[in-house]
Subunit: 248 residues, 8 copies
């Protein structure tokens, strides 16, 4: 139950449209619902103003469905991240949720999330191999109520492509920059704008990429001062923080 | 020359208070001034709305003074970071700048920087040994025109101290959380607020702290989704990003 | 043969219930029984007061059954750890042992192990993905004769859930705290109690988790002084030490 | 103020020996005393039953003296760790505390701490270079009210020396084993006793010792199940946990 | 063609038993035979006095058979290492070689290799999981003409088992000690004998074992001075060097 | 003695200007001259066409002078690298060589080295702190007979400065790009030119720079295919290879 | 469209052989063609004088075919690298391209690429396991218009094989040296020639090879000054740079 | 007391030259003498046939002298390693021992140690910077009763120097090869001989040498099978093992 729905429910009580008893029942769930495998935090949307997010790895399809049902029962939107296609099939068939294989995101809830972000979040990525992480960031930011602009395939070794898009970059309120290998893109983008840049290293690459470590280190030591960093492949985290910033 | 001064100058031209020739001369510096050792970017304040910052390590006191003079000549505020006390003495005597030994910051320019941040930046730190980094973050944020609240000595092993300050934490618009050792503080603070948290690992600790690596890894893998990370001991970078966010 | 059984046997000899010759035969096994692949230490329970434990990885099902039979012949309880479900099937069918798929523990021996621990061991874990390791710790501690309380899904980013359980935490004599990612939970729990806390890092996480290294480092550098650490995913080791402590 | 003193004070109030007003004043310090540089936790001894411990590195002699005075004013014992000899000189002259250069411990408070540990803590170390860490562990354990036995210079490459001391090892209730280089001593000692062993890696060694990392890894992967590990050189932490265990 | 065969051949020429032309043909192979995929060094046995060894990983079964045929044609013994069981099947069927699945060694050539080592090589290993590496070492040493004694399952946490075998250890001329996890066994064995000890770390273990790195570091930093180290899992290399030493 | 001098000497013999005996004496030094501490390779210039280079660290001033004298006696130019200022003073006073404190290079030999490189070597660096390494590269390349263009203070976070210099970059035949921190500059430069780029990571930076490792990894994983890498701070090596390329 | 074709096209316009309109159409593609998944840079060959190269990992067969078609439509040669055999089958069937399974290279375009390199590129490798990387380097260099000589199976432990080939090595204009394990080959080769050596570490090896890290470090710290390094297994990158050098 | 002296003493008793009481007194020292800071093992020479060795780092000059006196009293030779020049001065003045500053070895005892090694130990090193470690190895081997041949400055990048010395290398019974940087020398030497090669990595180098780690890894992954490795800079350990081998 998010803030807007809570406000609506209380409004309905005041207006007489809703019986206090029914309202009480709707509110009766304690913040935690204990399922067999987890405490589900049904008031999270209320506290943080965002849908509940389920991180799929390590959970069985049955556990995911179990938690989703608890949340959907209290009319809370649900976003599942890092859901592999084969697992998604079962969850979709059980819950009717939407699934996007590129970003590996699954969504259940309102069709259209109202825009709550004040400006645009730009999601920039270097190569086609970084697309899944960028798609996760863009998909999450959209589901969290932001206008999102994406810019793909603009690596630092072809700097002219990036410069061609400087208007788009400068018009964003927050930027998420996704890059693997040497992870230099956030530094260059960071120097082109005066807005916060959230850098996401990806595990793309081989050899001395060390599963994203090189990109991570490159971003942490960026010579652009407006860059902060999240974990390797953490498109979700970047979108989460960008959303909080975009609501300020 | 920052935006406000530029606007004022042009206003003066329009009002006749300033002769166009004099204005031209004032504007005549190309964006770069080449000194013996560096290209000084005199329009940076104009482009980014922030004073020029000089990172002291690896520069001689003479080089620092040389760059400062170029900037002060075009009436730009200057902030020097990581300036050791013994080097500072010479710079202060040459330029009359203010120096704070805890944060190792040196400042030359306007006495009072107008508040441009819309809310408060909270600077939180775990232990007394993290104080220098926290002081750098707080000092920079203040010089960049923000209202700053500080909260010290609230480690996660004494969680009650932290909870006692939850009102202060929740009232901030952006939070900078500084911690060494296991670097767990940003996760706990992140769970208490719904604002962006910028985590700064410090090189404090011994043994398996590995000069801040443990804290860095802990922050990158934080289970709180509203946490982004900057480089070890990078109080300046945290304050820079927090400033950009606080101006949104 | 554990101490209790040895005492009973000697008691029976004294009382005449057991013929000295039969007793001698029962005691005749030398401490080591050489099987084809291993020296089995049949007096371990006697020396350490705990059942023999077989670490399954790298052993064939046949080897496991071979060692189990040697031990069961001398009436010693057997606990097998890290046994994958497919291997377990064969072992169960050959020996009639009990198997739990979550903790991957297999048990053969007495149905009820007498309580020998003086207090309660609390097993606390952060997220649902840490459950297998926590289940191993809880299962082993139970089989070793301890009263065990478990507390799941209490991550540091939702500190209120943890505080709600402070009574449970404070009532334990020893605590095992299991966490992946940044591994901050032992620090927070450690600050809430004045009992020994055994921290178990898990390999849960991605990117900068580095297979549990981040959690491990976080625990080693914990700012709570009552925390000691065991190897990544080593729920067994934590339960073993907790058992020794709980018998003091 | 520790528990015993608190009990005594309340007893005195009940018996009329102490005026309620005086008692109130004695208790009036809130748990935190804010000094210029730190919140001092004056009730820590009360909560945990141990003296306050000050970790010296990163603190100036003046800061250490300032905190000590706050604590001594409320009659709390103070232990300072990792205090270098040159800093110690000032602190001793200001406070009259005792200082031991080998363990780098400084103590202010009661001359004789009553024995509260139920058994003996054995402190074992491999080589003469590990002595400072072992001395820290032994010194802290003694100041925390334990009977301590020490055993030095018993490396695994001269296993007979260790075996000669097996009686001493087996008579301990808890063991602290300190070793650098390959860190194998805790494994061997762990196999000789059925009590908890707390392993302390030291930064002694060169080359592939990597400042204690090799010893740390060796201890974490010990084949003895009764071994837990603390941070490199953390003799204090080992003694702290051993004390908690010895009071059970 | 090894030295002995070369000597025999020349002897036969002298005695008239072999026609010089036939001898010339037998010797006509240049030291390198170029096959499609490799230069085969047919005189290696001559130069080093050992059979040619083929390291299987990265080679197809066909490549292995191709090289073996070149060598067998010049009557040179062939030893293949690290040959997986499924690949071995094809090689055995093509060449009639002998294969041992535990050590993953394949042998083609003389049934009995004459003893050329002057003493015994002891191969000692800690746990059952180290057996494959120990078996490789023992198998190679045997094929290289050494008398080999093996001692299994003597971990440092059960030091008495090791001491029971001290006579066997002391009677060896060279020792190969195989261990995973903390890799402490070579230190203890090294302290018990005054002969060279070749330590082989194994990749056995989990978590902080890091695929054998912990054992490797432990062996490199051994406090026993008679220990040298080979690569992780390199049972072959240990046997090779032990053979050279045993021939001195 | 380099090739040119050898040719000249032989020419002089042919023309009668030089007596064959004198020529023989001049050529009589065997390729190695054994000094007390090193074999000096007096024909290196002949073989490789470059002056002898002495790497100063780990050598005493006396050893450096000793080797220089051997080389100067056979009229070979000498370049000393990484010579600290205090050591240089002694060497200069003994040999009359030239010393440059920024690049830490010392030179003894011909005043003007003839240009042998066919084009220009560009030496580009990111920040003022990278200057010493860039100066070493530029100084060595000059002494090795190349035309050198330098471009300083063009970091990737201010991409416009770099683009302003694209003509200079494109006119070079080989480029040496020096950068610390995230080491992104070679990628961007590499994308702007179609010539070989030799990347030199520097140890400049703090925290997650890890003494140049981040820059090194960034360069190794560069998305620009025309980038190769040398060791951290190895300005000399970069100039050496650039020289070889520039002579092709 | 490469430079030669562009020149030809313009020549045809001048000679009247090509209608300006047709020429315009041929040139009408903007430098980027946007396909569904990537911006294809159709003028790359024009800018850099080399065919477009597609790095296969992370791309579906369909994406590869899609990009290839765009490029082939503008008559540009296409080289695909790191294409696994099973994926290649589909691409070959769709496009009729040539595929080599050892080097994992796929080629579509002109049958014979004109020689543009001025000398020979030598590709040297240590063991048979390094062959795939060496084959990639040799294949790419050939397709890029170079004469290539290959030398296989010349490890440093059999130094005479290498010396036998010194003539071949010295006749090359650029050398690519491929090696795994200790990566020493480039140092030895580097000492034998006075031409640039590009070292390619391979991920071949086990244990302390750490997936090529040991070879990489060995090459970066090579005592031969004419060695530069590319990423682990990056045969393509080595060939790319060698091509640029060979065209100088 | 070493074996020879023990035999002599018993011989004297048999012949009547020594009174049994005097002999008893001479033998009366228990194997350990407890000094204030260490248990000194006075029978070590007897057990291992080598003088006692004192590792100086971490010991005060006074402690070293104290241990030396205990040993000298029982007529045992003493070798001190890694003794810095300033500490040595005191020890020499107190004990009259000999000190060599290059190898940092100090020796007290018999002037001439009888040759007990059966052949020659060759000590080979790559560069002048590796000399201290090579000198330690050579000095220790000499003091341990071996004939030692040294070969300096034979790096792999100048392979001809090494080949010139192949006779010397082949005549050794055991070889110690010392190298920093890429550590390739043992591989090349290992391929030239059929004797055991003990490789000693040195901490010489900068950047990616990582204090000897690169050399260490290169040696562990050597493609020469007769190479074993000791710790970084451990010239002593190499000499110790070489001595044991040379006595076989």
């Amino acid at each position: 139950m998010d803030r807007e729905r809570l406000r609506q429910l209380l409004e309905n009580v005041r207006s007489g449209a809703l019986d206090p008893d029914a309202a009480a029942e709707a509110l009766s769930d304690v913040p935690f619902v204990e399922t067999e495998h987890a405490r589900v935090d049904t008031h999270r949307a209320l506290r943080h103003g965002l849908p509940e997010v389920i991180y799929a790895p390590g959970k069985t399809p049955e556990q995911i469905v179990e938690v989703m049902r608890v949340l959907l029962r209290v009319e809370q939107d649900v976003l599942v991240t890092r859901l592999e296609a084969d697992t998604a099939e079962f969850v979709v068939s059980e819950t009717g949720a939407e699934y996007d294989p590129t970003s590996r995101l699954l969504w259940a809830g309102r069709q259209h999330v109202p825009l709550e972000g004040k400006g645009t979040i730009a999601v920039v990525c270097a190569g086609t191999s970084d697309l899944p992480v960028a798609a996760e960031a863009a998909g999450v930011a959209t589901r969290f109520g932001n206008k999102v602009e994406t810019l793909h395939d603009v690596g630092v070794a072809g700097i002219h492509r990036l410069l061609d898009s400087s208007r788009l970059l400068r018009s964003a309120r927050v930027l998420i920059v996704v890059a693997g290998m040497e992870g230099a893109l956030p530094s260059v983008v960071g120097g082109m704008v005066d807005k916060p840049v959230i850098a996401v290293p990806t595990s793309v690459g081989y050899g001395a990429s060390f599963g994203g470590v090189s990109a991570l280190l490159g971003m942490l030591t960026s010579c652009a001062s407006n860059v902060t960093v999240v974990n390797i492949d953490n498109g979700f985290g970047a979108a989460y923080v960008a959303t909080l910033i975009n609501r300020l």
